[in-house]
């Protein structure tokens, strides 16, 4: 069975705030029955102060889904909606002393239920850009959908490319056969054939004095600024959330978020960044930050 932390077990065996809140004025329902995890979050928000006075959950799911739901309600009770929205799935996982990589999606589900509930309260429609595939790389918790998108967007050809762009396969290497499977499929759809001995993409391998992190962030901001008019013309926008080593996390907002083209747009931004900065940069939606954070945590 899973190696759950004591905190996870405690929240599972003694869940807090189980059940629907009476007189709730914010409801979020997210999850996927086919995947076996779904959650309804009910909140009672004080209309004058915007403070979450009560929170309750109803969850169909495994031990970590129930524990994530329970801990989420504990975290957000007493917060204002704006503060609650800042709670990331990583915060949820941290509060549980971590989750196994296969189970990180349970914390993502918690955060999404919260976003959905807040949107419901504010009379907005919450849209989800989240798509999840089978977990391929267990070391870095990268799923098939993410790999496939990156292969399409960046015209990746080799396992090494995939590792460079997504980190998948960079650990124990046991998933290389699965990654090759994805490459074979996508390359076939592109009308190419997979060649295990092909040279990895080299366009971005530059030998220059490395940038300091501050320089890097400044340059990234400049590039995003230069791209912004174009994005806004399409009714969208982009915001830099965090830069960790050579990875830039961005929030796609407006028409860009969740749209079919988001992945393509991100790829375009990545390409432009690499050209300007002259080094390998990876651009990842901030919503996927957890996947990499797990990696950092071992």
């Amino acid at each position: 069975m899973w190696d759950y932390s004591e905190k996870v077990k405690d929240h599972f065996f003694n869940p807090k705030n189980a059940g629907a809140v009476a007189g709730a004025n914010a409801i979020g329902e997210v999850g996927s029955i086919s995947c076996g995890d779904a959650l309804r979050l009910t909140l009672k928000v004080n209309e004058a102060t915007g403070v979450i006075e009560d929170a309750g959950f109803q969850t169909f799911g495994c031990g970590s889904a129930i524990a994530s739901s329970s801990v989420l309600t504990e975290i957000i009770k007493g917060m204002t909606l704006d503060d609650a929205l800042k709670v990331s799935n990583q915060d949820i996982a941290n509060e549980l002393d971590g989750l196994p990589p296969e189970k990180m999606h349970c914390s993502v589900m918690g955060r999404e239920a919260l976003q959905a509930a807040v949107a419901n309260y504010r009379g907005e429609e919450w849209q989800d850009d989240h798509e999840e595939g089978a977990l391929i790389c267990k070391c870095f918790a990268i799923d098939a959908v993410m790999i496939e998108e990156m292969v399409w967007a960046n015209k990746l050809r080799t396992v090494e490319d995939v590792t460079n762009f997504t980190k998948a396969g960079g650990g124990c290497a046991a998933c290389h056969e699965d990654i090759e499977g994805i490459l074979e499929r996508v390359l076939k759809e592109r009308g190419e054939t997979f060649d295990p001995n092909a040279a990895p993409i080299e366009a971005v391998v530059m030998e220059k004095k490395p940038l300091t992190n501050l320089q890097r962030i400044k340059k990234i901001e400049e590039v995003l600024e230069s791209l912004r008019p174009q994005l806004m013309a399409d009714g969208g926008d982009v915001e830099l959330v965090e830069v960790v080593d050579n990875t830039a996390y961005v929030n796609m907002t407006g028409a860009c978020s969740g749209c079919q083209m988001a992945a393509m747009t991100i790829a375009g931004i990545q390409q432009r960044l690499m050209e300007v900065l002259g080094e390998f940069i990876r651009v990842i939606p901030a919503s996927q930050m957890h996947k990499v954070a797990v990696a950092a945590g071992g």
């Binding site: 329902e29 029955i33 779904a38 495994c62 129930i66 989800d128």
Partner: protein, 402 residues
Amino acid sequence: MSDIYLDNNATTKVDPLVVDAMLPFFTEQFGNPSSIHKFADGVAKALKKARQQVQELIGAEHDSEIIFTSCGTESDSTAILSAIKAQPNKKEIITTTVEHPAILSLCEYLEKEGYTIHRLPVDRCGRLNLDAYQKMLSDQVAIVSVMWANNETGTIFPVVEMAEMAHAAGVMFHTDAVQAVGKIPMMLQDTKIDMLSISGHKLHAPKGIGVLYLRRGTRFRPLLRGGHQERGRRAGTENTASIVGLGKACELALEYMEYENIQVKAMRDRLERGIVEQIPHCFITGDLNNRLPNTTDIAFEYIEGEAILMLLNKAGIAASSGSACTSGSLEPSHVMRAMDIPYTAAHGTIRFSFSRYNTMHEVEEVLKVMPGIVATLRKLSPYWDGNGPVANPEQAFQPTYA
């Protein structure tokens, strides 16, 4: 209360008599059976005896039809790969949608290599349609591989009849009998089954020992080539202690065959009836009239299996689940999907599998805690409202994204 083990389809405890039979082969009789000195003296004889004990349990005609392997998975792979290598012109394989991954993953791999895989579907009770099977048989088919009994539901397939049909069409027939051997009486010499897989750890022998039964005269290509062990059909120095253990386990399985089908079955039936009577909205999956005597697989609607297992584990009870979460995949068990069990039930399936070591007292203990466990989780479920499921569960709760 000591812990209750109801996960015998996953693996079983090694019988103490099996351990006793094995021990001398680690320390005293440690010689290589191929050597010519007294350290090896008894070893070759012991292997022969074990071969005969296996032979007797499955009713094989000759003891040379027994090939020892390292596990059930190796036996399955050997059978299928042998059939396609021995008949390179035949590019089709027939199997079912509910096989163990030992067969299914291999078939997926062969599919990528250009083989055509026919996967027989099952109905909601997990049964095959033999007319559909008949239509798939042709001279293009290298091998049929159909499990004797399903590891999740215990459903038994009519493999003896299916082997006859394959034989009539000139097609080789293999059965993964890992779950069936020791629980169902067999007389292979009266059948047309060409190959059959056994795994020791499912019948109170150790893990890491298996058998491939290979009917005399069946064309064969070894998976492992090297020394002359197993008459050149499976090279590698024999796992002597485990082979001796498996032999003993087969002897015991034969002795307990009646007990398995009467007493063990009675425990299973008592548990099943007790659960269905006490707990609303649960049902037994598989072919109720045609199952292994030791297995029951029960779907508890509106709750999820891993959560049930965690609460059972806390109560000292070991079972297993077909839920996605226990395997780390996103889909519930392929067996449940193949039977078209709705997602709200498929994720909540729990398999209880018995052995001769269980007692009726243990069944009563499980019956005491099970209703509370299910009720606890249903209280948390968005599909549940007070004493029953919400009206129109699929409409009442519609989470975003599917």
